[in-house]
């Protein structure tokens, strides 16, 4: 970190999403970093611009209009450092999740070991896996070469052998990869090698004349031990390098951000890891970001990260792919009434191909948008491995959640899709601060902390969710909420009911709950919970709908239930 980066006062943090380019301006006000303004504009990855700087300019215009501070000029997409007239910013950070998912090939020695580890390492990257190779896939080296040639990857992730382990097999696969890269020719194909460390120099020398080789720590240094985090970071660098070669403007942005143009999910992971390490009261954090093209669920527990990005799950460009992956029922169960199957397919296909970045105009449209968000989030969580339903804090992000007409709908989508159990604080990232602050943390760790402490995220409130699968109608739990002034509210949670108790943002209260013997309030079936909870714009949410939350199958009952739940969180 240079002195200039450390002293930086005015920070511009940019995220290039598939649908929207967002720019956040942070500055020091009365000695503390604060979020000053956000600018948004449609992203310009695609035709006719194919240059992200066009969308950025419009996003910066928003900020200039609010702050009066000039951020770009005819000569410079961004004025940095600050010029003698006080225009511009001290520091620029950038993240990107837009553009098509990179076509990637995974290579490993054995499917159940190194190939599985390679797959694990790529879960946080915006990739489309188009081919996999292993020693036991039943194909000759020539057939493997043909397969890679036909797949035309932009990125190859090569994991193979434990450290000081297999040598000839790794080199045989290296030859196949090398020949494929040679035949594919042109471009800057990226190869990430995360295999036997003893061979890293050999592999690099064999491939570096025909590909851009990134050497990462072995994802499986010993048999059975999988360490994907470091490989994930190298993969992030390779991903951005590949994107910068094909998407206009990203190279310039990488230069502005001192070479640290990060994938959006990786940057979000940096902040969540930091937050869960003891810098905040929350040790188990889940971030759920549903976008137009992709969905990310990132869990951070005591600094350990579990990061998953699904480039085929989303509410806009990927709406049709979401329906194909999750099935019609995963979408239709969240719609009131009984829409025709063809009508649902027509709506989703239109959303995906014709109108991916549009906004809902009426109530039916809003239900459909929220249903897509639930299906995408549930799908991503289902695919993720090792993420439980116990969280201290859930943060919702992405345009669908951030732009809901009422924050209660965002909370409802999070509860329905993620099915937390126990007391969980819900927050909403309306300005996409989690990834942008994550990228900033590399250069200035103080800024994220101070921005978050000063209300950067909207606190929705604490949800107490009861884990029960029964269809009982009797009371599931009784409890008491005691606020800081000693005022108490006694409550009962009945099956199928969602309701709120008032507790303002910035206030805390003591929550005591005694669940029924077969009901889990977060401490295990039948065990009482006594915890301090924070209020928010919704107060305290009491959720007795069971886990997983399943709306009634009868159309009339479902319509009534969905409306009742919506009203419970949006009519307060």
């Amino acid at each position: 970190m240079t002195n200039q980066e450390h002293r930086a006062q005015t920070i511009l943090a940019i995220d290039f999403g598939a649908a929207t380019t967002r720019a956040n301006l942070f500055d020091v006000v009365e000695g503390v970093y604060r979020h000053i303004a956000t600018g948004e504009a449609p992203s310009t990855f695609g035709a006719p611009y194919r240059d992200v700087l066009e969308g950025l300019r419009h996003a910066l215009e928003d900020i200039q209009a609010v702050t009066g501070r000039r951020l770009y000029s005819d000569q410079n997409p961004i004025i940095s450092p600050v010029d003698p007239d006080g225009h511009g910013v001290d520091l620029v950070t950038a993240t990107s999740s837009g553009g098509p998912a990179l076509r990637a090939v995974l290579v490993g020695l054995l499917p159940q070991f190194s190939l599985a580890a390679a797959a694990r390492a790529t879960e946080g990257a915006h990739l489309q896996i188009v081919e996999t190779l292993s020693l036991t896939d039943g194909r000759t080296p020539q057939q493997q070469l043909d397969a890679v040639y036909r797949a035309r990857p932009e990125l190859i992730v090569f994991a193979g052998g434990k450290d000081d382990g297999a040598r000839e097999s790794v080199l045989r696969l290296t030859e196949t990869i090398g020949l494929a890269c040679y035949r594919l020719g042109g471009g800057e194909r990226q190869v990430v090698y995360a295999g036997n460390a003893a061979l890293k120099d050999k592999v690099s020398s064999l491939l570096s004349t025909i590909a851009d080789v990134h050497i990462a720590p072995n994802v499986q240094p010993t048999l059975g031990a999988v360490t994907t985090l470091s490989a994930g970071q190298e993969l992030a660098r390779a991903t951005i390098a590949a994107r910068a070669g094909s998407i206009g403007g990203l190279r310039e942005m990488a230069a502005y951000s001192q070479g640290r143009l990060l994938p959006t999910a990786q940057a979000a992971g940096v902040l969540l890891q930091f937050m869960s390490k003891g810098t905040t009261p929350w040790r188990r954090i889940l971030y759920a970001d549903v976008g137009s093209q992709s969905t990310a669920v990132i869990a951070a527990i005591d600094g350990k990260l579990n990061l998953r990005v699904d480039p085929d799950l989303g509410v806009g460009l990927s709406a049709a792919a979401t329906l194909r992956s999750e099935g019609l029922e995963a979408f239709a169960r969240w719609l009131p009434g009984e829409p025709a199957v063809d009508a649902i397919r027509d709506f989703v296909e239109t959303k995906s191909r014709v109108a991916p970045h549009t906004v809902p105009v009426n109530a039916d449209d809003l239900y459909a948008e929220a249903a897509l968000a639930r299906a995408a989030l549930r799908g991503s969580l289902r695919r993720a491995r090792g993420i439980t339903n116990r969280h201290d804090l859930i943060i919702g992000g992405g345009a669908t959640l951030a732009n809901t007409p009422h924050p209660g709908l965002a909370a409802l989508i999070l509860l329905d899709a993620l099915n937390p159990v126990g007391a969980t604080l819900l927050m909403l990232d309306r300005h996409h601060l989690v990834p942008t602050l994550g990228a900033t943390a590399y250069f200035n760790p103080l800024a994220p902390v101070q921005v978050l402490e000063n209300g950067g995220l909207l606190t929705l409130g604490t949800a107490l969710s009861l884990g029960t699968t029964g269809r009982a109608t009797s009371a599931l739990a009784h409890g008491k909420l005691t606020d800081e002034d000693g005022g108490t509210v006694d409550f009962e949670i009945t099956a199928g009911v969602l309701k709120t108790l008032p507790l303002s943002a910035g206030r805390s209260a003591r929550l005591t709950v005694k669940p029924r013997r077969d009901v889990d309030a977060g401490a295990g079936p039948g065990r009482a919970v006594n915890t301090r909870v924070l209020g928010g714009s919704l107060g305290v949410v009491l959720d007795g709908r069971g886990r997983p939350c399943q709306p009634p199958t009868d159309p009339a009952e479902r319509a009534e239930a969905l409306q009742t739940w919506m009203h419970a969180l949006t009519e307060g």
Binding site: P100, R183, E349, T350, V359, V361, P405
Partner: protein, 336 residues
């Protein structure tokens, strides 16, 4: 085209739709031959025994390397298939089975700009109709309107032998059997206003290009699109029914070449301002077309509860009437 490509046209040259503008080859499969092992020498001693060089085309059974022994014996490494030698390295040869391909112009026009780097740009004056879905095929032929109204649903009763070789246009399609009927007649293409998603699989399998212009579900052409097609019936149309790549430059489209009139190129995109023609993409008025008559300067409340800046649009797709509706900026597509 991958590999060696020969461009056959030059800047300024006029081309017809069927003209071959480039030749090249595509690789079907690879073979890796260990030449050194087969002729029985060390890899670094192979050079004197090589009979072929990189780039050479080799027939099946032809020797790539040969070492003669005593008494007229020899050891050879031969090509297992007709192929091109693409790499010689470390005593091994990489052979690629290739087949020739030709690239045709697709539409009449003039080659503009340099043709270096394997890129040929053809310019033509005409009307462009951007679509939303294509089945991955393309063709060039005469446009036949098989519809008297924008919303006409095409069905088997409308099939006739005179459609052979034509690009047929209609509001929508009744069932999957219609695609089979068109295939039997051997039409050159189909332009639809809308299509039900339940018929996409049949459209994908059709042996001719299928272009969908407006969207998915019930309905047909919007009035302006219908008027454009109707006004050009009988002209030749290039139907490029590629898949829509929103991140790239491929969008399914129909191009109707028109006599050049030296008219300036129409601007693409630009800001939303009063007078611009737009198509509404979402909501009860989805698919309708009109002109912007007003823009809100602050976000307004929609029935969904969302606040968004709105455009007031005078619809011009109802003959004799100009009803106005409002729609969020985000839900509008700018038309030329």
């Amino acid at each position: 085209m991958a590999g060696a490509t020969e461009v056959l046209v030059t800047e300024g040259q006029r081309v017809a739709s069927g003209d071959v503008i480039a030749r090249g080859e595509v690789t079907d499969a690879h073979q890796l031959l260990d030449l050194a092992a087969r002729v029985g020498v060390r890899a670094d001693k192979l050079e004197p025994y090589l009979l072929k060089r990189e780039g050479d085309l080799i027939k099946k059974g032809e020797a790539v390397a040969r070492k003669r022994g005593l008494l007229g014996t020899s050891r050879s490494a031969t090509a297992p298939a007709d192929s091109r030698l693409v790499l010689l390295d470390g005593g091994k040869a990489l052979l690629a089975s290739v087949r020739p391909v030709e690239l045709r112009a697709g539409l009449p026009g003039t080659v503009v700009g340099p043709t270096s780097g394997g890129v040929v740009t053809i310019e033509t004056a005409g009307a462009v109709l951007s679509g939303v879905w294509g089945n991955g095929r393309d063709d060039f032929s005469v446009l036949r309107m098989q519809t008297a109204e924008p919303g006409t649903v095409l069905h088997g009763g409308l099939l006739e032998a005179s459609l052979r070789g034509a690009v047929v246009a209609g509001g929508s399609v009744l069932d999957a059997g219609f695609f089979e009927g068109l295939a039997e007649i051997e039409v050159s293409g189909l332009i639809l206003g809308r299509i039900s998603t339940s018929l996409l699989a049949a459209a994908e399998k059709a042996p001719f290009p299928v272009l969908v212009v407006e969207g998915f579900g019930e309905g047909g052409f919007s009035l302006p699109v219908f008027a454009l097609l109707n006004g050009n019936a009988g002209r030749e149309v290039w139907l490029n029914a590629c898949a829509w790549d929103r991140n790239g430059s491929d969008r399914p489209e129909a191009i109707i070449p028109l006599p050049a009139n030296n008219a300036p190129l129409l601007p693409v995109g630009g800001p939303l301002v009063e007078g611009k023609r737009v198509r509404i993409l979402r909501g009860p008025e989805a698919g309708r077309v009109g002109h912007i008559t007003g823009l809100s300067d602050r976000p307004m409340l929609l029935p969904s509860g969302i606040r968004a800046r709105l455009a007031v649009i005078a619809l011009d797709d109802v003959p004799g009437q100009r009803p106005t509706v409002s729609a969020p900026f985000a839900n509008l597509e700018l038309l030329i």
